[in-house]
Symmetry: C2
Subunit: 462 residues, 2 copies
C-alpha cells in the first residue's frame, strides 16, 4: 500500500526534545539532589512543563521526593500537583500545610481544584475549605456534592454564554471586556431566557462572521447538553462519538451550569481504559506507585477467588482418580484441554467485553453468540485433529487420541459460548463484565475441560 514499512516509524526515542522528563534528565536531577545542590536542581527543572516535572518527580525515591517538596516548594507550578499520579499525590499533599494547599487550589481551574480536593479525607477537606475565600468555597462545595466520576466533577464552571438575541459584534465586545472568562475555550454557547443552551458557535466561526449577524443565525443546534449527574464514561462516549471539543453541562432544570472540555475527557478515556485493562488482568487499580503491602493486599483477594476456582477444578479431577491411576497419561494430557479452552474463551471474552464497552454488542445483535460458538467449533475440530495425532503418537494409543480430540471439540465450543454469554449476562444484570467474566470463564473451561476428557476416558477405559 505504501513504500514505507511500519518499522520505519520514528519510535519513542524521537520524543526526545518534545517530551521533557527523559531518563538522562532524571539521572542528572538525582545527582544534584544527592549533592544537595538545589540551585542546580532548579535550573535543571525550570524549563519543564508541569506534566513533565510530575513524571520526573514520580521517578524519584520517596526520600528524594520529600526533599524536593521541602526545598523547592516555591518553584513548583500548582498544575504540577494535578499531573501527579494519585498515590504519589496523596503522599505529597499530606506534607503541605493547609495554607499552602489553599493557595495551590485557588490557582487551578475549578475542575482541577476539585480533583485535588476530592482525594483529601473529610477533616482535611473541611480545613481546606475554611482556608479559601467564601466565593471559591461555595463553588468547590457545590462540585463536591455531585457524585464522584460524574459530569459535575469534570466540568469547569467558567462556561462562555451569550443571550440568543445578541449579535456577533456584541459578543466580541463582551469577550474583550469581561476578564472573568476562562483562559482558553472552543465554543460559545447561546442560551435562552431560562439559561438553557440553544446552540453553540465555534470560536473560529465567530471570528469569521460579520459583526451585525445574529448569534442565533450562525449557531449549530446539534448540541449534546450533558446532564450534570451523567457518568464520566458516558460523557467520554459522547465526545468520541461526535468528535466534540467541548460540551455544555445542564442541571435538572435544563439550565447551563458549566462546560466540559476535550482535554479533561482525554484524561477520562485514559483512566477508563486503564481500568478496563487492569480489571481484565485481575488487578483492581494501578498500583504501580503503591507500597508493597498495599499492592499485596489488593492482589490477594483476586488470587483468593482464583484459589477457590482452582480447587473446584481439582475436585473434578479427584472424581476420576481411578482412571488416572490406571492410565497416568491422562494426568499428563489433561492440562492441554483445559488450557486451550481457557485461551480460546479469553479471546472470545476479550472481543465481547470490548464490544460491550463501545456499544457494538447489544441485545439486537446477540446472535453473535452463534458466530462465536461456530468459531469455537471449527477451531475445536482443527485442534482436535492436531492434538489427537500428538497424543496418539506420544502414548501409542488411538483411544487416547480419540478421547482428547473429542474433549477438545467440546471444550472449545463451550469456550465460545461461555466467552460471549458470560459478559452479556453480567452486563444485563448490571454488573461490570470486565471484572467477573474472566474468573467465571476459566472456571467453566477448566471444569468442562477436565470433565469431558477424564469423563470420556473413564467411559472408554474402565
Amino acid at each position: 500500500m505504501t513504500d514505507f514499512e511500519n518499522s520505519d516509524l520514528v519510535e519513542q526515542d524521537d520524543l526526545e526534545g518534545l517530551y521533557g522528563a527523559t531518563d538522562t534528565l532524571v539521572r542528572e536531577v538525582k545527582t544534584v539532589i544527592a549533592e544537595d545542590n538545589w540551585d542546580a536542581a532548579k535550573v535543571l527543572v525550570q524549563p519543564l512543563h508541569a506534566a513533565d516535572f510530575a513524571d520526573l518527580f514520580e521517578h524519584l525515591t520517596q526520600d528524594e521526593r520529600r526533599a524536593v517538596v521541602s526545598r523547592m516548594e516555591d518553584a513548583l507550578d500548582p498544575e504540577f500537583y494535578s499531573h501527579l499520579d494519585e498515590s504519589v499525590r496523596e503522599d505529597v499533599i499530606e506534607s503541605l500545610d493547609t495554607e499552602r494547599l489553599a493557595e495551590v487550589v485557588q490557582e487551578l481551574e475549578t475542575d482541577d481544584a476539585v480533583d485535588l480536593i476530592e482525594d483529601l479525607d473529610e477533616s482535611e477537606q473541611q480545613e481546606l475549605l475554611e482556608a479559601v475565600p467564601p466565593g471559591d468555597r461555595v463553588v468547590y462545595e457545590a462540585a463536591l456534592r455531585y457524585p464522584e466520576d460524574s459530569a459535575g466533577r469534570l466540568m469547569r464552571r467558567e462556561a462562555v454564554t451569550v443571550p440568543n438575541y445578541w449579535t456577533v459584534g456584541q459578543t466580541i465586545d463582551y469577550m474583550r471586556t469581561d476578564a472573568e472568562l476562562p483562559e482558553s475555550f472552543y465554543n460559545i454557547y447561546v442560551v435562552g431566557p431560562t439559561h438553557g443552551p440553544l446552540g453553540r458557535v465555534p470560536v473560529s466561526r465567530l471570528l469569521r462572521t460579520a459583526r451585525p449577524v445574529e448569534m442565533a443565525e450562525i449557531m449549530d443546534m446539534d448540541l449534546k447538553p450533558i446532564p450534570v449527574v451523567m457518568d464520566q464514561e458516558d460523557v467520554a462516549f459522547l465526545f468520541r462519538q461526535y468528535g466534540l471539543a467541548s460540551a455544555p453541562v445542564v442541571d435538572d432544570d435544563g439550565r447551563l451550569i458549566g462546560d466540559i472540555t476535550v482535554d479533561d475527557v482525554v484524561d477520562v478515556i485514559e483512566e477508563e481504559h486503564e481500568e478496563d485493562i487492569l480489571k481484565l488482568g485481575g488487578v483492581r487499580e494501578d498500583d504501580f506507585y503503591d507500597a508493597v503491602i498495599d499492592t499485596t493486599r489488593a492482589r490477594f483477594s483476586w488470587l483468593l477467588v482464583n484459589l477457590a476456582t482452582a480447587i473446584v477444578a481439582s475436585v473434578v479431577i479427584g472424581l476420576f482418580d481411578a482412571a488416572i491411576e490406571k492410565m497416568v497419561a491422562l494426568a499428563v494430557l489433561m492440562p492441554i484441554v483445559a488450557s486451550m479452552g481457557g485461551n480460546a474463551g479469553t479471546q472470545t471474552l476479550t472481543v465481547a467485553v470490548r464490544a460491550l464497552a463501545v456499544k457494538e454488542l447489544t441485545p439486537t445483535n446477540a446472535l453473535r453468540v452463534g458466530k462465536e460458538t461456530l468459531v469455537g467449533g471449527i477451531n475445536g475440530m482443527l485442534f482436535a485433529v492436531l492434538v489427537g495425532l500428538v497424543a496418539w503418537f506420544w502414548f501409542d494409543s488411538t483411544e487416547i487420541g480419540g478421547i482428547i480430540a473429542a474433549a477438545m471439540v467440546i471444550n472449545l465450543i463451550v469456550a465460545g459460548l461461555a466467552g460471549t454469554l458470560i459478559p452479556l449476562t453480567l452486563d444485563r444484570i448490571g454488573m461490570d463484565p470486565a471484572v467477573g467474566s474472566a474468573v467465571v470463564l476459566t472456571t467453566i473451561t477448566d471444569v468442562i475441560g477436565f470433565l469431558s476428557f477424564l469423563g470420556l476416558a473413564a467411559l472408554v477405559l474402565l
Copy 2:
C-alpha cells in the same frame, strides 16, 4: 467523601436522546427495510448524526446493509463512511462505483479522505486517484507516501498560518476573506520566513486582543511541532501529556505542513487501547464484524502457539509419571500451583505492560522488579499456608501439604519476577510487550508450577 454513591450515577439508559442509534430505532429501521418502505427509512434516519447512522448500519445484516446502500445512497452523508468500522466499510466501499467514491472522498477533509483511500487495494487506489481532480490527487498521493499510522496520515493539510510580523487586525481580516480555511480550528500558527512554526495563538485569545497588537506578542512559544513521520502512538502521548487541542506538523526541514486536531487523536487513543486490550487477550484485531472464517483463522495462530506451550507443560508432567502413578493426589493438586502462578503473573504483567505504555516503567525505575518479586513472595507465603492446609486435610498427609506449600512460594516468586522481566526484556529488544508477554509468562508459570510441585514430590516420596 460525598453523599452520593456510584450506583446513583446515571447509566447507559440516559444516553437515550443524546445518542442516536438506540435499539428501538434499530428495530424500527429493520422493520421498514423488511417492508421495502424506503421513504419511511429515510425519515427515520434523517435526523441521525453520521456517526450514529454508522452504528445503526453496523447492526444490520449483510443483506440489509446492501439494500440500504443501493436504495439510500443519495441520502448518505460522506462522513458516514468515515465512521464505519473497518471491516464493514471495506464491504460497503466495494459496492460503490469509482465515480461515487471519488465524490465521497472529495467532500471529506484530507485526513478522513486518506483514511478511506488507504484501505483500498493498489489498483482501486489508482483508479480512484485518476477519478479525482489533479489538485486533490497530489494531496492524497503525498499523504499516502507517509508511513501508515504516522502523523502524516493523521494531519489535515488545512492549517491556519500567519507570518510573524502580522497584527491581530490583519489576521482577523485575512480569516474573514479567505474561504479556504478549515471549517473549524483551535489554534492559529505563527510562522517565520521559512514557514517554520514559531508559536501558536488560541483562537479565543485572538478574539480578546486589540487589533493593533502583533501576533508575535501574544503567541505561546511552548509549541510541540510534530515530525511528519512520528508514530501516531507518540502523537497521542504528546496530546495527552500536554492537554493539546491541536499541534502543528513539520517536515524534515522544519516547515509547517499540516495540523493535527484532538478529535482525530481521540480516535487514535481509542484504537491503540483497543489494540492493547485485544493483544493481551490473544486476539490480533477487533474481529467483531468479520466473517466466521476470518475470525477462525485470526484466532487459530494464537491458539497454535498456546498448544505448543501446553505440550511443553505436559512433557514436564510426563517426567514425573512414576510419582503420579504412586500417588494420584499429585495429579489432582498440580493444576492449582500452575493456575495460581499464571494468575499472579498476569496481574504483575498487566501492571507492567500498562506502566510501559504510559512511560511510567523505564530503565531508571526497573528496581520495580524487586517490588513485584517481594509481593509475589508475600502472597506466595500466604497462599502456601492456605493451600497447604487444604491439601493436608483433603489427602490426610502433612507431606503433600508441605510440598504444595513450598511449590506455591516458589511459583509465585517466579511469577512476580517473570511478570516484570518479560515485558521489560521484550520492550528493550524492540518487541511489543503486550503481544508476546502473556504466552511466555504462562509457559514459565506452568512449567515451574509442575516442575516444583512434582519435582519436590518425587524427591520426598520416591
